[in-house]
Symmetry: C2
Subunit: 317 residues, 2 copies
Amino acid sequence: MSSSEVNISRLLILAQKCNNFYLKGEKCSIQYPVFCLEGFVELNPAFRDYNERTEQLEKVLRNLRSEGLLPALKGWRDEYFEVKSEHRALLKMERAATPLFGVRKYGVDINGYVRHPTLGLCIWLQQRSNTKETWPGKWDNMVGGGLSVGLGIKETAIKEAAEEASIPFHLVKSLVSAGCVSFYFESRQGLFPNTEYVFDLELPVDFVPQNADGEVQAFELLPAKECMDRVFTSDFKTTSAPVVIDFLIRHGHITADDVVDFTQIVELLHVPLQSFYTYKAHLGQSQRQHQNLQGETKNYRCSSLQKSMENGHKRAT
Amino acid sequence: MSSSEVNISRLLILAQKCNNFYLKGEKCSIQYPVFCLEGFVELNPAFRDYNERTEQLEKVLRNLRSEGLLPALKGWRDEYFEVKSEHRALLKMERAATPLFGVRKYGVDINGYVRHPTLGLCIWLQQRSNTKETWPGKWDNMVGGGLSVGLGIKETAIKEAAEEASIPFHLVKSLVSAGCVSFYFESRQGLFPNTEYVFDLELPVDFVPQNADGEVQAFELLPAKECMDRVFTSDFKTTSAPVVIDFLIRHGHITADDVVDFTQIVELLHVPLQSFYTYKAHLGQSQRQHQNLQGETKNYRCSSLQKSMENGHKRAT
């Protein structure tokens, strides 16, 4: 990193961009015409259970999709995310619809890197296929994917490494879990309160990733500095930037001595989604008690749907 | 890490303990009898500048110290921290007094580690001298220290590495900047809104640290698992635990598949002190404007003193 940054670094600007919703603060607005914005959105409390909630909501979502008004639903992929509130599974929902409700999303990302004898630290990036529904043609981390129902975290990373980059088992077994980043982004598609579990994978200098599932159109190995430059361009998927920045911070390529707003940047890579959602859920709960509604287990209001939903994934417990 | 954690892990309990003040939420209370608690603490707005504010406050602090009522001031060390608000230096203050005002503190920590041929990842810990004013006799990271006026961050780490552990230059040049942790702890001494810049240093298997400044009474090399166990004991300095936990997360020894509340833990290692202090400062500012007080530059109220002060350190800009 250059040490010529003044006042506010372009890194901080990027970290802020990834948190354009988080930084709005408490103002919570949904701009989608199908939901009631006066106070809260509520699932019909008459729905008895997980299955009924899932079916009823899916019916509505499929109608909305056929009307073609919501850009998010154009990316429909028949892949379910489980929606939870405080560890309790409420329903499962088509993945493409989750940004409409601000459902927390979890993913995995692999930083594939090489310690090159002459170029130093180099990072593999993938270019997403032009046919992908989200961020087509954009540059992205070497491997990444959302967590779906039923798979563990490292398990998902290994699966994606095989599908997206044909990483063989003898290499992927060096995968190192390295933490997670969290941010809260908003786009035309909706809200992205994302947590990405990050893994590092050192690769031999002569290994070249090969896509196996048609979702990647190219791979490129870039020296750390050039990789950072790429991340700042509009050719890079905004919501993948936090993973690269975190990687370069953990490996000493972005340091507190060089970047004036280092602590702000680190903070924006780990925004308190957990506290945010838990607090909102509790707030929703106490409001429900206050208003004497029909009982805690049956009401999922705005604060639940838009603010305190989580998509689930299986974890070893 | 064991995968037998249920409901809430002992790691989360420890991360919460380091944030006992942060997790109190908005309730801001100072329990020290010398400050006015009705609304705000204000420095006399007649003080004209940095030097006058410094001298006047120091006079009061020295009196308080001689009265012996405040445990924090027993640790007086004639070492100054610069107190800033929004990048503006307000005054400098005896380091031991800063917890009484909730002044943000910055420090450096070095994780000294060894890749042992049979024991795997091992970590060097230091045992603090029994004569230290704070946390005497407790186990701590291999090297650590507060940032003082006039020194850079890596510069401070290198200086402390020499003083505390006699790390020679040919080894310390492998120091890798690896980010920072932030937490907000409260003890009898006061408030600790701390940011620690963390560095990793891989050491040869045969290197043994030697203390040079009398502040360390022992060093011990522990396998990762035993190091983690030590951190959970009352023999470990609470405010150093986040650095060890962060290290073990970054190096794949604490993973999301093994610890049920992984994302909460990572979040509590990076609490949003920056937003917290900036927000409070802006709040204070707008309140001042609203109340038509005597101008922005002269009033340092509760929100400034207790909530929005930062101690400064020189950074390359």
